[in-house]
């Protein structure tokens, strides 16, 4: 999207101008749809976030300025949950990156049954998160789960803070590593085989080839993969909701927002949390794109 504007000459001919006009007209339906489904809810969330609005008390409503933001930022719970969210995000994305890279290399180098290998690897990603979360919950159930049977313990996994977080993070990793691997594989296939041949001739070891050729050339793909997963991981909801409902201090920002919006019907405070979560997500994306130079159009023709 940005690539076409980057090289525009200053004196555009009338032909380029009319082509650009046509391009905009062709884009228009998509842009309008985008505004309707993303800009409108974001704007509406902001409008709600500056109001006192609790559906259980329909008479007591009104404009309160930034009070709701004060309530959120002044609450210990917000900071605890934000910390939990970042903890889950950092650990799961880091593990997924390493595992995803290994799987991508396997998928890339698979000699036989390439299609089968890729399909098998993708299965966890194809399972609905809620279903996967239930599967993990049942597996780790203290009395009937197979994990306790296997290791011969009576451990109540969801009865402690650390053990609950471990299961939640494991479920996240299991579920989304395939997505990471797929994005990395896309970067891997763009690397010219000739480079490896040349390195081999020069006597580079397999490790050196990975470290000096694969990784640097894959940097854009890695950044995009990590960016996508980081943003997704920040919104972690389903696994926690199913497994602990936020008990044992496992709440994430999304669960906190859900509790205020759906459970307490406090649309004002709940929207303030949504807006803050949105700003954090924008901040993360900005950091990746501007700070680390991730390019979202990488790999496209002319990109």
């Amino acid at each position: 999207m940005e690539a076409s504007t980057a090289n525009t000459p200053t004196h555009a001919s009338s032909r380029t101008r009319s082509e650009r006009k046509l391009a905009w007209m062709l884009c228009a339906p998509a842009v309008i749809a985008m505004l309707a489904v993303t800009a409108y809810p974001i704007g509406y969330a902001f409008v709600l976030s500056v109001q006192k609005l609790d559906l259980r008390f329909p008479e007591q409503t009104g404009f309160v300025g930034l009070d709701n933001y004060g309530t959120v930022l002044g609450s210990e719970l917000w900071w605890t949950d934000l910390f939990n969210t970042f903890l889950i995000m950092v650990i799961s994305v880091a593990v997924e990156l390493v595992l995803g890279m290994v799987i991508a290399l396997v998928m890339h180098r698979a000699i036989f049954g390439r299609g089968t290998v890729r399909t098998v690897v993708l299965i966890p990603y194809g399972i609905i998160t809620v279903v996967a979360a239930f599967a993990w919950q049942f597996a780790f159930a203290s009395d009937s789960g197979f994990v306790n049977n296997l290791i011969g313990s009576e451990m109540d996994w969801f009865g402690g803070h650390v053990s609950s977080l471990v299961v939640i993070i494991l479920a996240e990793i299991w579920k989304t590593t395939p997505f990471m691997a797929l994005l990395l594989l896309a970067g891997l296939v763009t690397i010219d085989e000739g480079l490896y041949e040349a390195a081999k001739v020069d006597g580079a070891s397999a490790w050196q080839r990975f470290w000096k050729i694969t990784l640097p050339l894959m940097k854009p793909a890695i950044l995009v993969a990590v960016l996508f997963r980081t943003l997704e991981a920040f919104r972690v909801f389903d696994s926690i909701f199913i497994m602990t409902r936020g008990a044992q201090n496992t709440e994430s920002v999304s669960i906190l927002g859900f509790n205020q919006l759906i459970n307490r019907l406090n649309l004002g405070v709940g929207s303030a949390i949504s807006v803050l979560a949105f700003l954090i997500v924008v901040g993360i994306a900005f950091l990746f794109v501007k700070g680390l130079g991730a390019r979202l159009d990488e790999g496209r023709p002319g990109g």
Binding site: T38, F57, V72, L77, A247, Q248, I273
Partner: protein, 428 residues
């Protein structure tokens, strides 16, 4: 919550839009089909699922009794009170006309009435709906002196114990903990202490039994210090005793009855369904299953939990008059007998406890169930119930963290959190 990444991944957003459009078209199509029928109006009955089939059975019977003037279609909600409520409030908050009759958990009356989501019952309807019903149950359907729902089933907890292991049931929680600690086998007590509404049920019963209450009015916190601390000490004592079940902080009605049926525990506080369940699943255990009054905390009389459903009419229903009529039938005497027969749910009409149906469902303990309901301590009635319950659950969960020797700190925390909850302040 997820706007940010949509912004980045525009293709996903476009795809989502396509799905939305498809979904909208599909719903429009369905609506068109639904509206074109010319038969009698269909009333939708939103209520928590009952595994024995009570809901389907009563809906079918009341449809038949309506003689073609309306039909009743049950929509089954999750058994978990919080999850069922979430589905209801999402619809009612959006003024959804597709709900006519609501199976209202006893804790929701004040909230739904205050929000203007349910209609009051008046005159003859009110008189008939409350006939012979336990006063404590009528109270749960009342908000600001108005009746907002017809009592259907009620519920209460008993102390279930193993007659083969324990000669005489303990009268207090402390006795029970000590006895369980001394048992060679099955020396644990089953309660409900996962962080969910069932935990609030347990906490409230302990606090009420200790001689105080969480709220004394919709916006006034009571929680007298000495009795509250005694109740908290009981929780801490169990939480730090060998008598606690290994999964105490994730235990609910179902894990409790499963462990009891597996012979792991000599004691359990649980609802009346536990007996029917054990008879079906573990006859050997059921044979030795004794029912006793809910244990006391101190010298005050025990106040067991009070649960159950009352049936309300939605303010957004297009057929309110018919909905009142349907709700009266669905909550009526015959339906209550179906509920006790199929699902072991205690009737809200006191006179039914003398009858054969109840006595068959509760062999030898029908009188005890009645007595528990009459003495039960209901949970607080306030429009901010959800906040109060969340505050209590968050402060006291898991029970292991309560030091039974020093309950002052946790008491102060509980009191200030409940005060914030009733004013709906802060985050929960």
């Amino acid at each position: 919550m997820s706007y940010g990444s949509r912004e980045v991944n525009k293709r996903v957003a476009t795809r989502a839009l396509a799905c939305l459009v498809l979904a909208a078209l599909a719903t429009a199509g369905l609506a068109a089909c639904g509206g074109s029928g010319s038969g009698p109006p269909q009333l939708t009955f939103f209520v928590a699922i009952q595994p024995g089939g009570t809901i389907e059975e009563t809906a079918a019977r009341c449809t038949k009794e309506a003689n073609g003037r309306y039909t009743i279609k049950p929509e089954l909600l999750p058994n978990d009170a919080t999850q069922a409520r979430e589905q209801l409030v999402r619809r009612l908050g959006a003024k959804d006309p597709s709900i006519d009759v609501i199976g209202l958990d006893v804790i929701l009356t004040a909230e739904f009435a205050n929000a203007g989501w349910i209609e009051p019952w008046q005159g003859k309807l009110k008189r008939e709906a409350t006939e012979e019903v336990f006063p404590s149950v009528v109270e749960t359907a009342t908000f600001e002196h108005q009746l907002y729902a017809a009592p259907f089933n009620t519920n209460t907890q008993l102390l279930w114990y193993r007659k083969d292991l324990v000669p005489k049931p303990p009268a207090t929680w402390d006795q029970m903990i000590k006895e369980a600690e001394g048992l060679k086998e099955a020396g644990t007590i089953q309660v409900q202490a996962e962080r969910y509404e069932g935990f609030m049920v347990w906490v409230n019963a302990l606090i009420e039994s200790a001689g105080t209450e969480i709220l004394s009015g919709p916006e006034t916190v009571d929680l007298e210090q000495k009795p509250t601390e005694e109740a908290l000490a009981v929780m801490g004592r169990l939480g730090n005793s060998s008598a606690k079940s290994p999964n105490l902080s994730t235990s609910n009605e179902d894990t409790a009855r499963l462990a009891f049926e597996a012979g792991e525990s000599a004691f359990m506080t649980n609802y009346t369904f536990a007996y029917a369940s054990a008879s079906a699943e573990a006859p050997d255990i059921a044979k030795n299953m004794g029912a006793a009054p809910f244990p006391r905390v101190n010298s005050n009389p025990a106040k067991p939990p009070l649960g159950g459903f009352n049936l309300a009419v939605s303010s957004y229903s297009d057929h309110q008059d018919l909905a009142f009529e349907a709700a009266a039938c669905l909550a009526g005497e015959k339906s209550q007998l179906t509920a006790v027969e199929l699902d072991g749910l205690p009737p809200s009409r006191a006179d039914l406890y003398e009858g054969k149906v109840v006595k068959t469902a509760y062999p030898g303990f029908a009188g005890l169930v009645k007595e528990m309901i009459e003495t039960a301590g209901p949970r607080p009635a306030t429009p901010a119930y959800q906040d109060v319950s969340s505050a209590v659950q968050r402060t006291l969960h898991p029970p292991e963290k309560i030091d039974p020797e020093d309950t002052e700190g946790i008491y102060d925390e509980l009191k200030s959190n409940v005060e914030a909850g009733v004013k709906r302040e802060g985050l929960l």
